[in-house]
């Protein structure tokens, strides 16, 4: 029983992190229907910028955090402006391959700049943040991740529902041409959504870096783990991303705990194939019915 509860807690926290990483991915898909293969690299970029600011530039933590978020926002903005904008209206394969190429570029760049070793942040989280329920303890990092996640989730919910920019984003996602003809500045929306998505990715990268240490290969692998998560939750649903993340996280830890540790990394993809066959639009995705 104790084993079960420990697995449950682990699964929930890992799943929550997956959900958090998937949020930025869903943002981009929701506003520009681009499948971003460079998402893992954006996560890693955020983690490394934060690392550099904290250890090399010795900035205080809160300032470093803010500067990282700003830097990621600008990075997303630049990526959209330089690489994605010329491809508006091009076939899908080019857009997908462009993000694959970007992923390779970013990965090489990060390996050049920071090397492939595992790095860690200095310990800066206060111990009182940790929680204890009976014999189960939750480390402070996870509590912080939970707080950040809930705050961002609420912010995004409100942003998409009430702010005019959020409504523009939804309109562009729904029908680009109609949005254009009604006077929505589609290019501005794309740029903004890439900026915000990179910001969210950077934030999740920092959280992941605090928990697992910072390594280019590990963080970019999480970018691929995002696919089962978002498919399960529905490609265009932010709440779905979090719930899908939690389900996939639980599934992973339970398979790892009870069946075999090596099966752990494949289970999400097996699930992915089944979901695609049975319910391709996921739990909360928008269903587009087309019968051909």
């Amino acid at each position: 029983m104790e084993f079960f509860i420990q697995l449950l807690i682990n699964g929930l926290s890992i799943g929550f992190l997956y959900g958090l990483s998937a949020m930025g991915f869903v943002m981009i898909f929701k506003s520009s229907s681009v499948l971003n293969f460079a998402h893992g690299e954006l996560l890693a970029m955020g983690a490394f910028i934060f690392l550099t600011l904290v250890t090399w530039a010795n900035l205080p933590i809160w300032l470093a955090f803010l500067v990282t978020l700003l830097g990621c926002f600008i990075l997303g903005f630049i990526v959209e402006r330089l690489f994605l904008r010329p491809l508006i209206g091009e076939p899908l394969i080019f857009v997908i391959m462009l993000t694959v190429g970007l992923a390779s570029m970013f990965k090489g760049l990060m390996l050049l700049l920071w090397g492939g070793n595992l790095r860690t942040y200095p310990d800066f989280l206060p111990q009182w943040l940790g929680l204890t329920f009976g014999y189960v303890t939750v480390p402070p990092v996870y509590v912080m991740a939970l707080i950040i996640g809930v705050v961002f989730l609420a912010l995004f919910g409100l942003f998409f529902k009430y702010s005019s920019q959020g409504i523009y984003m939804r309109s562009v996602a729904d029908n680009q041409k109609a949005a254009l003809s009604l006077g929505v500045h589609v290019r501005k929306v794309f740029a903004l959504s890439w900026g915000i998505a990179a910001l969210v990715a950077g934030m999740s990268g920092i959280v992941l870096g605090i928990i697992n240490g910072i390594n280019v290969h590990d963080l970019s692998a999480i970018g691929l783990k995002v696919f089962p998560v978002v498919i399960l939750g529905g490609l265009d649903s932010i709440v779905g991303a979090v719930i899908g993340g939690i389900i996939i996280g639980l599934l992973e830890t339970f398979t790892g705990g009870y069946l075999s540790p090596s099966l752990r990394d494949v289970v999400p993809y097996i699930v992915l194939v089944f979901i695609l066959l049975v319910k391709p639009y996921g739990l909360f995705g928008l269903v587009e019915i087309e019968r051909v």
Binding site: S33, L35, F83, P86, L87, E90, L92, I93, F94, I96, M97, L98, V100, G101, L102, A103, S104, M105, F106, K107, G108, L109, L111, L112, G115, G116, L224, F227, P228, I231, L235, S262, L263, D265, V266, Y269, I270, L272, V273, L276, L277, P280, V292
Partner: protein, 357 residues
Amino acid sequence: MRQRFRFHPCGNYKDRYEDELTVFETDFGRLWAIVGLLVLLCFAPFVLSRYMLYIVNTIGIMSMAAIGLNILIGYTGLISLGHGAFVGVGAYAAAILATRWNLPILVTLPAAGIITALLGMVFGIPSVRLKGLYLTIATIAGQFIIEYVLVHWDALTMGTMGITLPFPSFFGYEISGDRGFFYLIFTCLILMVFLAINLMRSKYGRAFVAVRDNDRAAEGMGIPIFRYKLLSFGVSSFYAGCAGALWAYYMMSITTEPFNLMLSVEFIAMVIIGGLGSISGSIFGAVFITSLNEILRWLTDWAMNTGALGDFGLNLAPLREFVFGLAIVLFILFEPRGIAELWRIVRSNFRLWPFPY
């Protein structure tokens, strides 16, 4: 009246459907293709150094797999990120058949192709319901699942230990050394290219293109799109399987390591950089990516050994990944139709010189 020799007219003068289907637009082109092939087959193995011959052989194997992927992506419009895993399946199929049952290469090579084709069709089944993005994601899942099975099905694939293959023999003649493999690989490649070009000129090729251009219209015109999508997966995986089998024989021992997602990405890069929907483009792409890989490896080795750039030279290895990504990005942004299109432009410039068109 029978035309003796055909030269390039200045403009589009095709007035029969057969004209659209010709492989060589002019007799000049056919002549050059034959001369080029003869030069390659007669001189390349004897003039080139062993290392260069190794690269040429690798290009041959890669071209075969890239042609397969181009049939799937360029002609049928189904994006697959699992091609590397299929090459791995072909390699393992050939290796297992050759070591367990001592079958000759004449059996294992087609058998590997057929086994991979069947598996490819299984992974093509999701294309009944999925298209575009969703299908791409399904093929990524296929990549990871196949990789996992190859590593963990110890009884069959020997897991991470890998399999060592015997030398292939042809009617009692044992093929060993780069020169022998050169003829083996290029015979297969020429056959496969011939097959691919003619397949694309047939009813099946036209159906593939129709599915790519507008699947709803294709269905409306009586093309059973699901059957053709499956067929396309099958043909594409057949090419991957044959390439994998040759790879396994050429490398003599295989492990699961090279058949990862990066290899799939490399194949897609070949197809895009070479030119989508063009058989010659796939070969150009294979040449480009393989040479790029080798040049970058050589550069990093050089920088490391001579210490030319000091400490920085030691950290230059990731540069390969960066340049690789950069090449993909630049081609997509500036010449999305790839080297095949560049080649066409260069040729027509020569033909029309000194006039602009």
